[in-house]
């Protein structure tokens, strides 16, 4: 058996406020989030010896280490593919701790994604080079297919065609997210739930996606502190043990546009992540009491539920319509409000919510939660976690 399951735990979480205009540098947001997470873990910056972030982050670990007085680092790593990196950073940290190359690893992501560079505006006018990554856009942007919403719309349309799902089925995901955000004081959309009718009436962004199918653009930072399970038990909070931590890149994988596979109504890279998570943790979907599923756009929540074994292929629309994602449902979902409702921090805020669920401190605590499944970005090479309470 792998050394990974249960070897490490998330012992601290910390974030800035989530806003539309932070008024501060991305580096400052990162420093604030990291310091908050380290403090939450009952540690000092000088205890940190490892750091992991996204390749997309603009603040290298050396800047944060220097600014916070972290000092020497023995482990630093970055994960690519945008929001797909989120849980992968925790996997890196857990592996570093499990192998002893670092003792206290901080994972972080901080940006001014609303007041600064907005991902929602797409790739059309990005500077061009002739790298393989850039050339991949040659098959999209000259045709006006340039934004994440547009890329996801292709999958959504095909999914609707194959399984008879409707825009309302996507809308129910948004309604749950916003209901949970409405009662989370940290959420941008605190106090602002939506109805399915409002979802249906919201303007088109890229058919079949309405505005309310799309996550926010946010400013903010989130950090997580990973230490060994043993050390975590001596720290102030109930540890969130990392029972599963996996990455996945599927066959014929593209960045948000894997349209060339024999089928595109599933998310095979998420299936790959899920299989690893269950194998590592020796858990099954029945053992999971809550899920934090990446929701940059509602349609891809449905195939995630299917790939992760919470329902059969094509049945997610019924699973959702039956109320299973509500706080009193079978699988309370995105209890923080998700990225549609709380903030879009590239999935890192969802990991923090999973930790709160295990601590019993979520703003929308659905009762006892022993195991939470968390996913990272969909449509991209991705990652996932199963976090659990101490056993």
């Amino acid at each position: 058996m792998s050394v990974l399951p249960g070897a490490a735990a998330i012992a601290g979480i910390g974030a800035t406020e989530f806003s539309k205009e932070s008024g501060r540098s991305e580096l400052q947001l990162a420093c604030e989030a990291v310091l908050a997470a380290v403090t939450d873990a009952g540690l000092e910056p000088s205890d940190v010896d490892g750091m992991v972030t996204f390749t997309a982050d603009t603040s290298s670990e050396i800047h944060i280490a220097r600014n916070l007085g972290i000092g020497e680092l023995t482990f630093f790593s970055r994960i690519g593919h945008g929001g797909g990196a989120a849980c992968g950073t925790v996997q890196q940290a857990a592996m570093a701790v499990a192998t002893g190359v670092a003792d206290v690893v901080v994972c972080y992501r901080a940006f001014n994604e609303r007041s600064g560079e907005r991902y929602g505006l797409g790739q059309a006018n990005r500077p061009m080079d002739v790298s393989a990554d850039r050339a991949a856009y040659s098959w999209m942007t000259p045709f006006g297919l340039s934004t994440p919403a547009q890329w996801v719309a292709m999958f959504a349309r095909r999914y609707m065609h194959e399984y008879g799902a409707t825009s309302e089925d996507f809308g129910r995901v948004a309604v749950v997210d916003r209901a949970h955000a409405a009662t989370n004081p940290k959420a941008w959309f605190h106090g602002r739930p939506i109805t399915l009718e409002e979802h249906q009436a919201s303007r088109w962004i890229a058919e079949p996606l309405h505005l309310l199918d799309c996550c926010q653009e946010s400013d903010g930072g989130q950090a997580l502190v990973i230490v060994s399970a043993q050390r975590a038990r001596d720290l102030p909070h109930r540890p969130a043990l990392i029972w599963g931590a996996a990455q996945g890149s599927g066959n014929d994988q593209h960045m948000m546009t894997s349209y060339y596979r024999s089928e595109i109504s599933g998310i095979p890279e998420m299936g790959l992540v899920g299989r690893q998570l269950y194998a590592q943790s020796s858990l099954t979907p029945a053992d999971i009491q809550a899920a934090i599923l990446y929701d940059h756009f509602t349609p891809l929540v449905l195939p995630q539920l299917e790939e992760l074994g919470f329902c059969a292929k094509g049945e997610a629309k019924d699973f959702i319509a039956d109320g299973n994602l509500a706080l009193d449902g079978r699988l309370p979902f995105n209890t923080h409000g998700g990225q549609l409702g709380e903030a879009y921090i590239h999935g890192m805020n969802g990991i923090a919510e999973a930790v709160r669920l295990l601590r019993g401190t979520s703003a929308n605590q659905p009762g006892d939660v022993h195991n939470v499944l968390v996913t990272a970005g969909t449509g991209v090479p991705t990652s996932g976690l199963i976090l659990g309470a101490d056993q």
């Binding site: 797409g122 000259p142 045709f143 006006g144 065609h161 890229a206 058919e207």
Partner: protein, 316 residues
């Protein structure tokens, strides 16, 4: 245009625009020399006393076309014009009131009474001769303003007159120049995909084919995922296929495109898929599975792209 305005304008006819003003210097040989050298006028009567006398003159004469030059204000007055309002300024203001804010000189007729010789001291005065009714011209509606400049010598004798006509006009509202449409986002062309965009320039839709196992692949790449071969060639697509999935884009808008914009993933008869726009169909009528055929668009001189239109009914 009000009658009152017309009357105020016509009241200028006959009025003095510029009072008699002597030239800064008398007619002189050095200035004549500058002129004929600049004009490359080799006529000897301007500088050669003997040659001038040989033509029956008393001596050298000034070129007739220099008449205006003798009364010019000079450089200093040009860069620092007098702040005292002149009749000319008043007339320009009145024309401006009528919207005739632009000016173009149309013609100048000169009549010469006698040749000027060194020592003559020329003056000029200017009167308004006529102001035409409003005329439509290619430049815009305007009025032809004719003035007469009278050039006199020191004794007051007229040496030349100049009828000077300008068109004072309201600039026509030109249609805003058609703003060229923004270019579509450029493809990043590199050694792995250049062949496809080059074929597209020739309106050929090609599909990369492994030279060894013959499997087709798109988007293209340097190596065959089926057999690992780096050898490849291409086949030309039949251009027939169907819509595998599509999106109708509304927001954000890129200036190169018209919205709502349909973008489809088309599955070709050959089995590969590609992203392309749709034409000849309303966004609301596009369907998954719809049979389509290839067409081409040339959005700009450097870019040709495949586009698909619904296949004719009989082909369904």
């Amino acid at each position: 245009m009000s009658d009152d305005y017309e009357a105020r304008l016509q009241a200028w006819v006959g009025r003095e625009l510029v009072a008699r003003r002597p030239g800064q210097d008398p007619v002189n040989v050095p200035m004549i020399r500058h002129w004929v050298e600049a004009m490359e006028d080799a006529n000897p009567v301007y500088l050669d006393e003997d040659a001038a006398k040989a033509t029956g003159r008393d001596g050298v004469v000034a070129p007739a076309s220099m008449i205006q030059a003798w009364t010019m204000r000079g450089y200093a007055a040009t860069v620092r014009p007098s702040t005292e309002p002149s009749g000319f300024d008043e007339l320009v203001a009145l024309l401006g009131e009528g919207g005739y804010t632009s000016v173009v000189a149309t013609d100048s007729e000169l009549e010469f009474e006698r040749e000027l010789v060194p020592g003559d001291h020329v003056s000029v005065e200017e009167h308004v001769e006529s102001i035409s009714p409003e005329k439509k011209t290619g430049l815009g509606a305007g009025r032809f303003v004719s003035t007469v400049k009278t050039y006199r010598d020191a004794s007051g004798e007229v040496v030349a007159t100049q009828r000077w006509r300008t068109l004072r006009f309201r600039p026509a509202d030109k249609p805003a120049p058609e703003k060229p449409k923004a270019l579509r986002p450029r493809p990043a062309v590199n050694p792995d995909n250049a062949f496809w965009f080059e074929a597209a320039r020739e309106h050929r839709l090609v599909i990369q084919r492994c030279a060894d196992c013959k499997s087709l692949r798109h988007p293209p790449g340097p190596c065959c995922p089926q057999c690992g071969s780096f050898a490849w060639d291409t086949v030309e697509s039949s251009g027939e296929g169907h819509v595998y999935t599509f999106t109708v884009n509304h927001h954000p808008r890129h200036p190169a495109f018209d919205y709502p914009l349909v973008v489809a993933v088309v599955e070709l008869a050959e089995g590969t898929r590609l992203i392309a726009n749709m034409t000849g169909v309303e966004p609301a009528d596009v369907e998954v599975g719809m049979p389509v055929v290839l067409d081409w668009i040339d959005p700009d001189p450097d870019l040709s792209l495949p586009v698909f239109r619904p296949a004719a009914h009989k082909e369904r």
